[in-house]
């Protein structure tokens, strides 16, 4: 209870920033397409968390409404993205993101 009382909204923002940084770093340094995809999801959720936090801080329900939309879009995006990645990995089980460089100029 004490602990709970001490939880400041800014903590959520720090957590969200940390999650976003982890996701961005992972996206930049990992080459497994599945892991990179998970990192993207992590960044997305970090953003969603800031929305909820600010909604609470500013007492504006709009932020939470946006979250609902983001969830829907994310679900659709996961279906498409995972479908593509699974299809790629099924053809070439050890493919990395760097192998998929057909659009090189």
């Amino acid at each position: 209870m004490l602990l709970a009382a001490g939880v400041e909204p800014s903590w959520y923002l720090v957590l969200a920033s940390a999650l976003f940084a982890i996701g961005a770093t992972g996206l930049l340094i990992r080459r497994n397409p599945l892991v990179m995809f998970m990192c993207v999801e992590l960044m997305l959720n970090a953003v969603t968390l800031t929305f909820v936090t600010f909604s609470r801080m500013l007492d504006d329900i709009g932020g939470q409404a946006v979250v609902v939309f983001v969830l829907v879009v994310a679900a659709a995006e996961v279906v498409v993205g995972l479908g593509i990645i699974v299809a790629i990995l099924r053809r070439r089980p050890d493919a990395t993101a760097d192998d998929l460089a057909l659009l090189k100029g």
Binding site: A24, L28, I29, M36, A97, D98, A101, L103, K104, G105
Partner: protein
């Protein structure tokens, strides 16, 4: 249904024939393809007669009308329609194009017998007929230009029909290229019309001509005249027509005598209101170019050895007559001479084709002679054509030529003198041709052994002739024993009925063709009355006393008879050696002069233009292209294809944006 609605059939039937022959020509083969093409032309002639009858039914002022089939090119505010302009002039043209065309198609069935490309020949002929009919029926300048180019292309195809012979192939190219120079003038005239009047339909040009400024009208008339010079083979662009004789003879008759080469006259007659508005120097220029060409070509024809070359130069000369007529405002005599010329010149060409056919592809008149015994029908019909072109009454050529000379006299006696000398020369060289080909001694023999009878009889005259021939015929020197007696592998023969029937029909027309415009009384001026709606007040009106008219006619006839008499004395009685200077045989070296110029000083100019085009014009275009390509090549390294590179770019960009906004806030 009104008869006039049939007008679309006139060009549609030859087009249908062309399409059918494209699809099934090889299937039909010989002679089916020829009969199909002839049938289509005959149908087209029938349609023309029907439209003609329909026009006759109408009162005079309603005889000019347009029939629009569809909108051809809507360009902004300009609408160019695809339609027909039906008036007495276009239908008069169609009548003789389809009429003479049908006869020549029929003739070709016999002439092209045994050719490997039999059906292809008729395919081209039908396409030509279609283009020619579009040229005269089109209701705007562009449609006429379409036909104009169409006949030019067909002329090219047909001149080089036997394209395996490089000489014939290049003759076709020469015709095409020379015509392009004239076409340039035609195109400029179309643009000028569009700019000045906002329309190129004849309806609006002819009614709007009065509103044109003198300069614009001069530009349009002058440029159309340049086009006409090219197509109708006038000086200085006549060079392609004599070479066009490389094509099969029916082609020479149809395209290079009767129809296509007269389209320049048609065009100038069509736009007569514009010529009327143009500056006053245009008409004398046309007249003098015509008169000069007539005389110039007639002098060349005097020395030609090739039976078709004589007729070719004669055609150039007769076309010059027609331009002379247009130049003095005598449009009716021009059209009159165009029609009679179509009859007798087609007849002469077809007759020469029959001779060439009967002599087994021999074209040199020095190796002919006495052929009237072998080919009586050809000889008789050729003689009719000869008398017609020589201006002997009552043959058709007398009436039309006399009419032109009369108008020339009224305009400027100097033009009349040139015309008269040309008439004399025409009578002379045509008589020379007739005497060399059909009369006199046989300068050939059949089989390997000499014909003793012919040889023994001709010894005295033969020595006389051999000197002249040795001078002008170095190519026979390789066979001295046959210096004047050419060996044929089979006797000359008369041609089949498909060839003689058109000859007889054309001979009949050449005989009575003058009846469409008789000078004796004003109610016998059928052609003048018929063309009145087209020409209105632009036709020259002359005021010459009847006595003068008769006197001029008598002088013209005497000139013609003098020409015939001189030719008779020289070529049949051989009272003296023929004077045939080499410079005339080479056409005043005009052709060679052009070649020398184009190969020498002209060449440098072309090279300079070519260099300018390559370096400056192409350089600008290529420079822009390579600039774009090089900068694109530099930028394409950015597209590495690695996802994390792109992600880094996005992340870096986001950081920079963040830093920027933070700096905005804190500062």
């Amino acid at each position: 249904m009104e008869l006039l609605d049939l007008v679309w059939l006139i060009p549609a039937l030859p087009l249908a024939g062309f399409l059918l022959l494209v699809l099934g020509g090889r299937l039909l083969g010989e002679p089916g393809a020829g009969w199909l093409a002839t049938l289509m032309m005959a149908g087209s002639f029938g349609a023309t007669v029907a439209v003609f009858a329909g026009l006759l039914d109408r009162p005079e002022e309603e005889r000019v009308f347009g029939q629009t089939l569809f909108e051809w090119m809507p360009i902004g505010g300009w609408d160019i329609d695809f339609g027909f302009y039906v008036d007495p002039l276009s239908i008069a043209m169609c009548l003789f194009i389809t009429g003479v065309g049908t006869l020549i198609h029929l003739y070709s069935v016999g002439y092209m017998h045994g050719d490997v490309n039999f059906s292809k020949f008729f395919l081209y002929l039908n396409l030509f007929a279609f283009s020619m009919l579009m040229l005269v029926l089109g209701d705007n300048l562009l449609l006429t230009f379409l036909g104009w180019e169409g006949v030019g292309a067909c002329s090219y195809f047909l001149i080089s029909f036997w394209f395996t012979d490089p000489e014939k192939a290049s003759a076709g190219k020469k015709a095409f290229v020379t015509n392009r120079i004239g076409d340039w003038g035609f195109m400029v005239a179309i643009f000028a019309c569009l700019a000045a009047l906002g329309s190129i339909s004849y309806d609006e040009i002819l009614t709007g001509a009065g509103s044109l400024s003198g300069t614009t009208a001069t530009l349009i008339a002058g440029c159309l005249f340049v086009g006409a010079i090219g197509k109708s083979a006038q000086f200085p662009l006549y060079v392609w027509l004599p070479d066009a004789m490389a094509g099969p003879t029916p082609v020479s008759a149809l395209i290079h005598a009767a129809t296509m080469v007269t389209s320049g006259i048609y065009l100038l007659t069509r736009v007569n209101p514009i010529i009327a508005e143009a500056d006053s120097w245009i008409q004398p220029t046309i007249a003098w170019v015509g008169a000069g060409t007539a005389l110039f070509a007639a002098t060349i024809a005097v020395s030609q050895k090739d039976i078709k070359k004589v007729l070719a130069y004669s055609t150039v000369s007769q076309l010059g007559y027609m331009f002379l007529a247009v130049g003095v405002g005598a449009y009716v005599p021009a059209v009159f001479h165009m029609i009679t010329h179509a009859f007798f010149k087609a007849l002469l060409f077809l007759g020469s084709g029959s001779v060439i056919h009967g002599m087994h592809e021999e074209q040199d008149m020095d190796r002919m002679g006495g052929l009237r015994k072998y080919m009586p029908i050809t000889a008789a019909t050729f003689i009719v054509g000869w008398l017609a072109i020589a201006g002997v009454p009552p043959f058709s050529g007398f009436f039309s030529k006399d009419e032109i000379l009369l108008y020339a006299w009224a305009e400027n006696p100097a033009l009349w003198v040139v015309g008269l000398v040309t008439a004399l020369l025409t009578a002379f060289y045509m008589s020379r041709q007739v005497f060399l080909v059909f009369f006199g001694d046989e300068r050939f023999t059949v089989g390997d052994h000499h014909d003793d009878h012919a040889d023994g009889e001709d010894t005295a005259l033969g020595t006389d002739g051999s000197e002249a021939e040795a001078l002008e015929q170095p190519d026979t020197a390789h066979a001295p024993q046959h210096d004047e007696v050419h060996v044929l592998h089979a006797a000359p023969h008369e041609s089949p009925w498909t060839m003689t029937l058109p000859l007889v029909a054309l001979a009949g027309l050449a005989l009575v063709g003058g009846a469409i415009q008789l000078p004796f009384a004003s109610d016998l001026h059928f052609l003048e009355d018929w063309l009145h709606p087209v020409l209105g007040e632009n036709e020259a009106h002359i005021d010459v006393a009847t006595g003068t008219k008769v006197g001029l006619a008598v002088v013209a006839v005497l000139a013609g008879l003098t020409g015939i008499a001189v030719a008779y004395a020289i070529y049949l009685r051989k009272v003296r050696r023929p004077i045939e200077p080499a410079i005339l045989a080479e056409g005043w070296r005009y052709d060679r002069g052009i070649s020398a110029f184009m190969g020498g000083p002209g060449r440098a100019g072309f090279e300079a233009a070519s260099t300018f085009d390559r370096t400056v014009v192409d350089g600008a275009v290529n420079g822009v292209a390579s600039l774009v390509r090089r900068s694109g090549g530099g930028l394409r390294g950015l597209q590495s294809g690695f996802v994390r590179n792109y992600a880094l770019g996005i992340a870096g960009g986001a950081v920079l944006l963040l830093a920027y906004f933070l700096a905005q806030v804190t500062l």
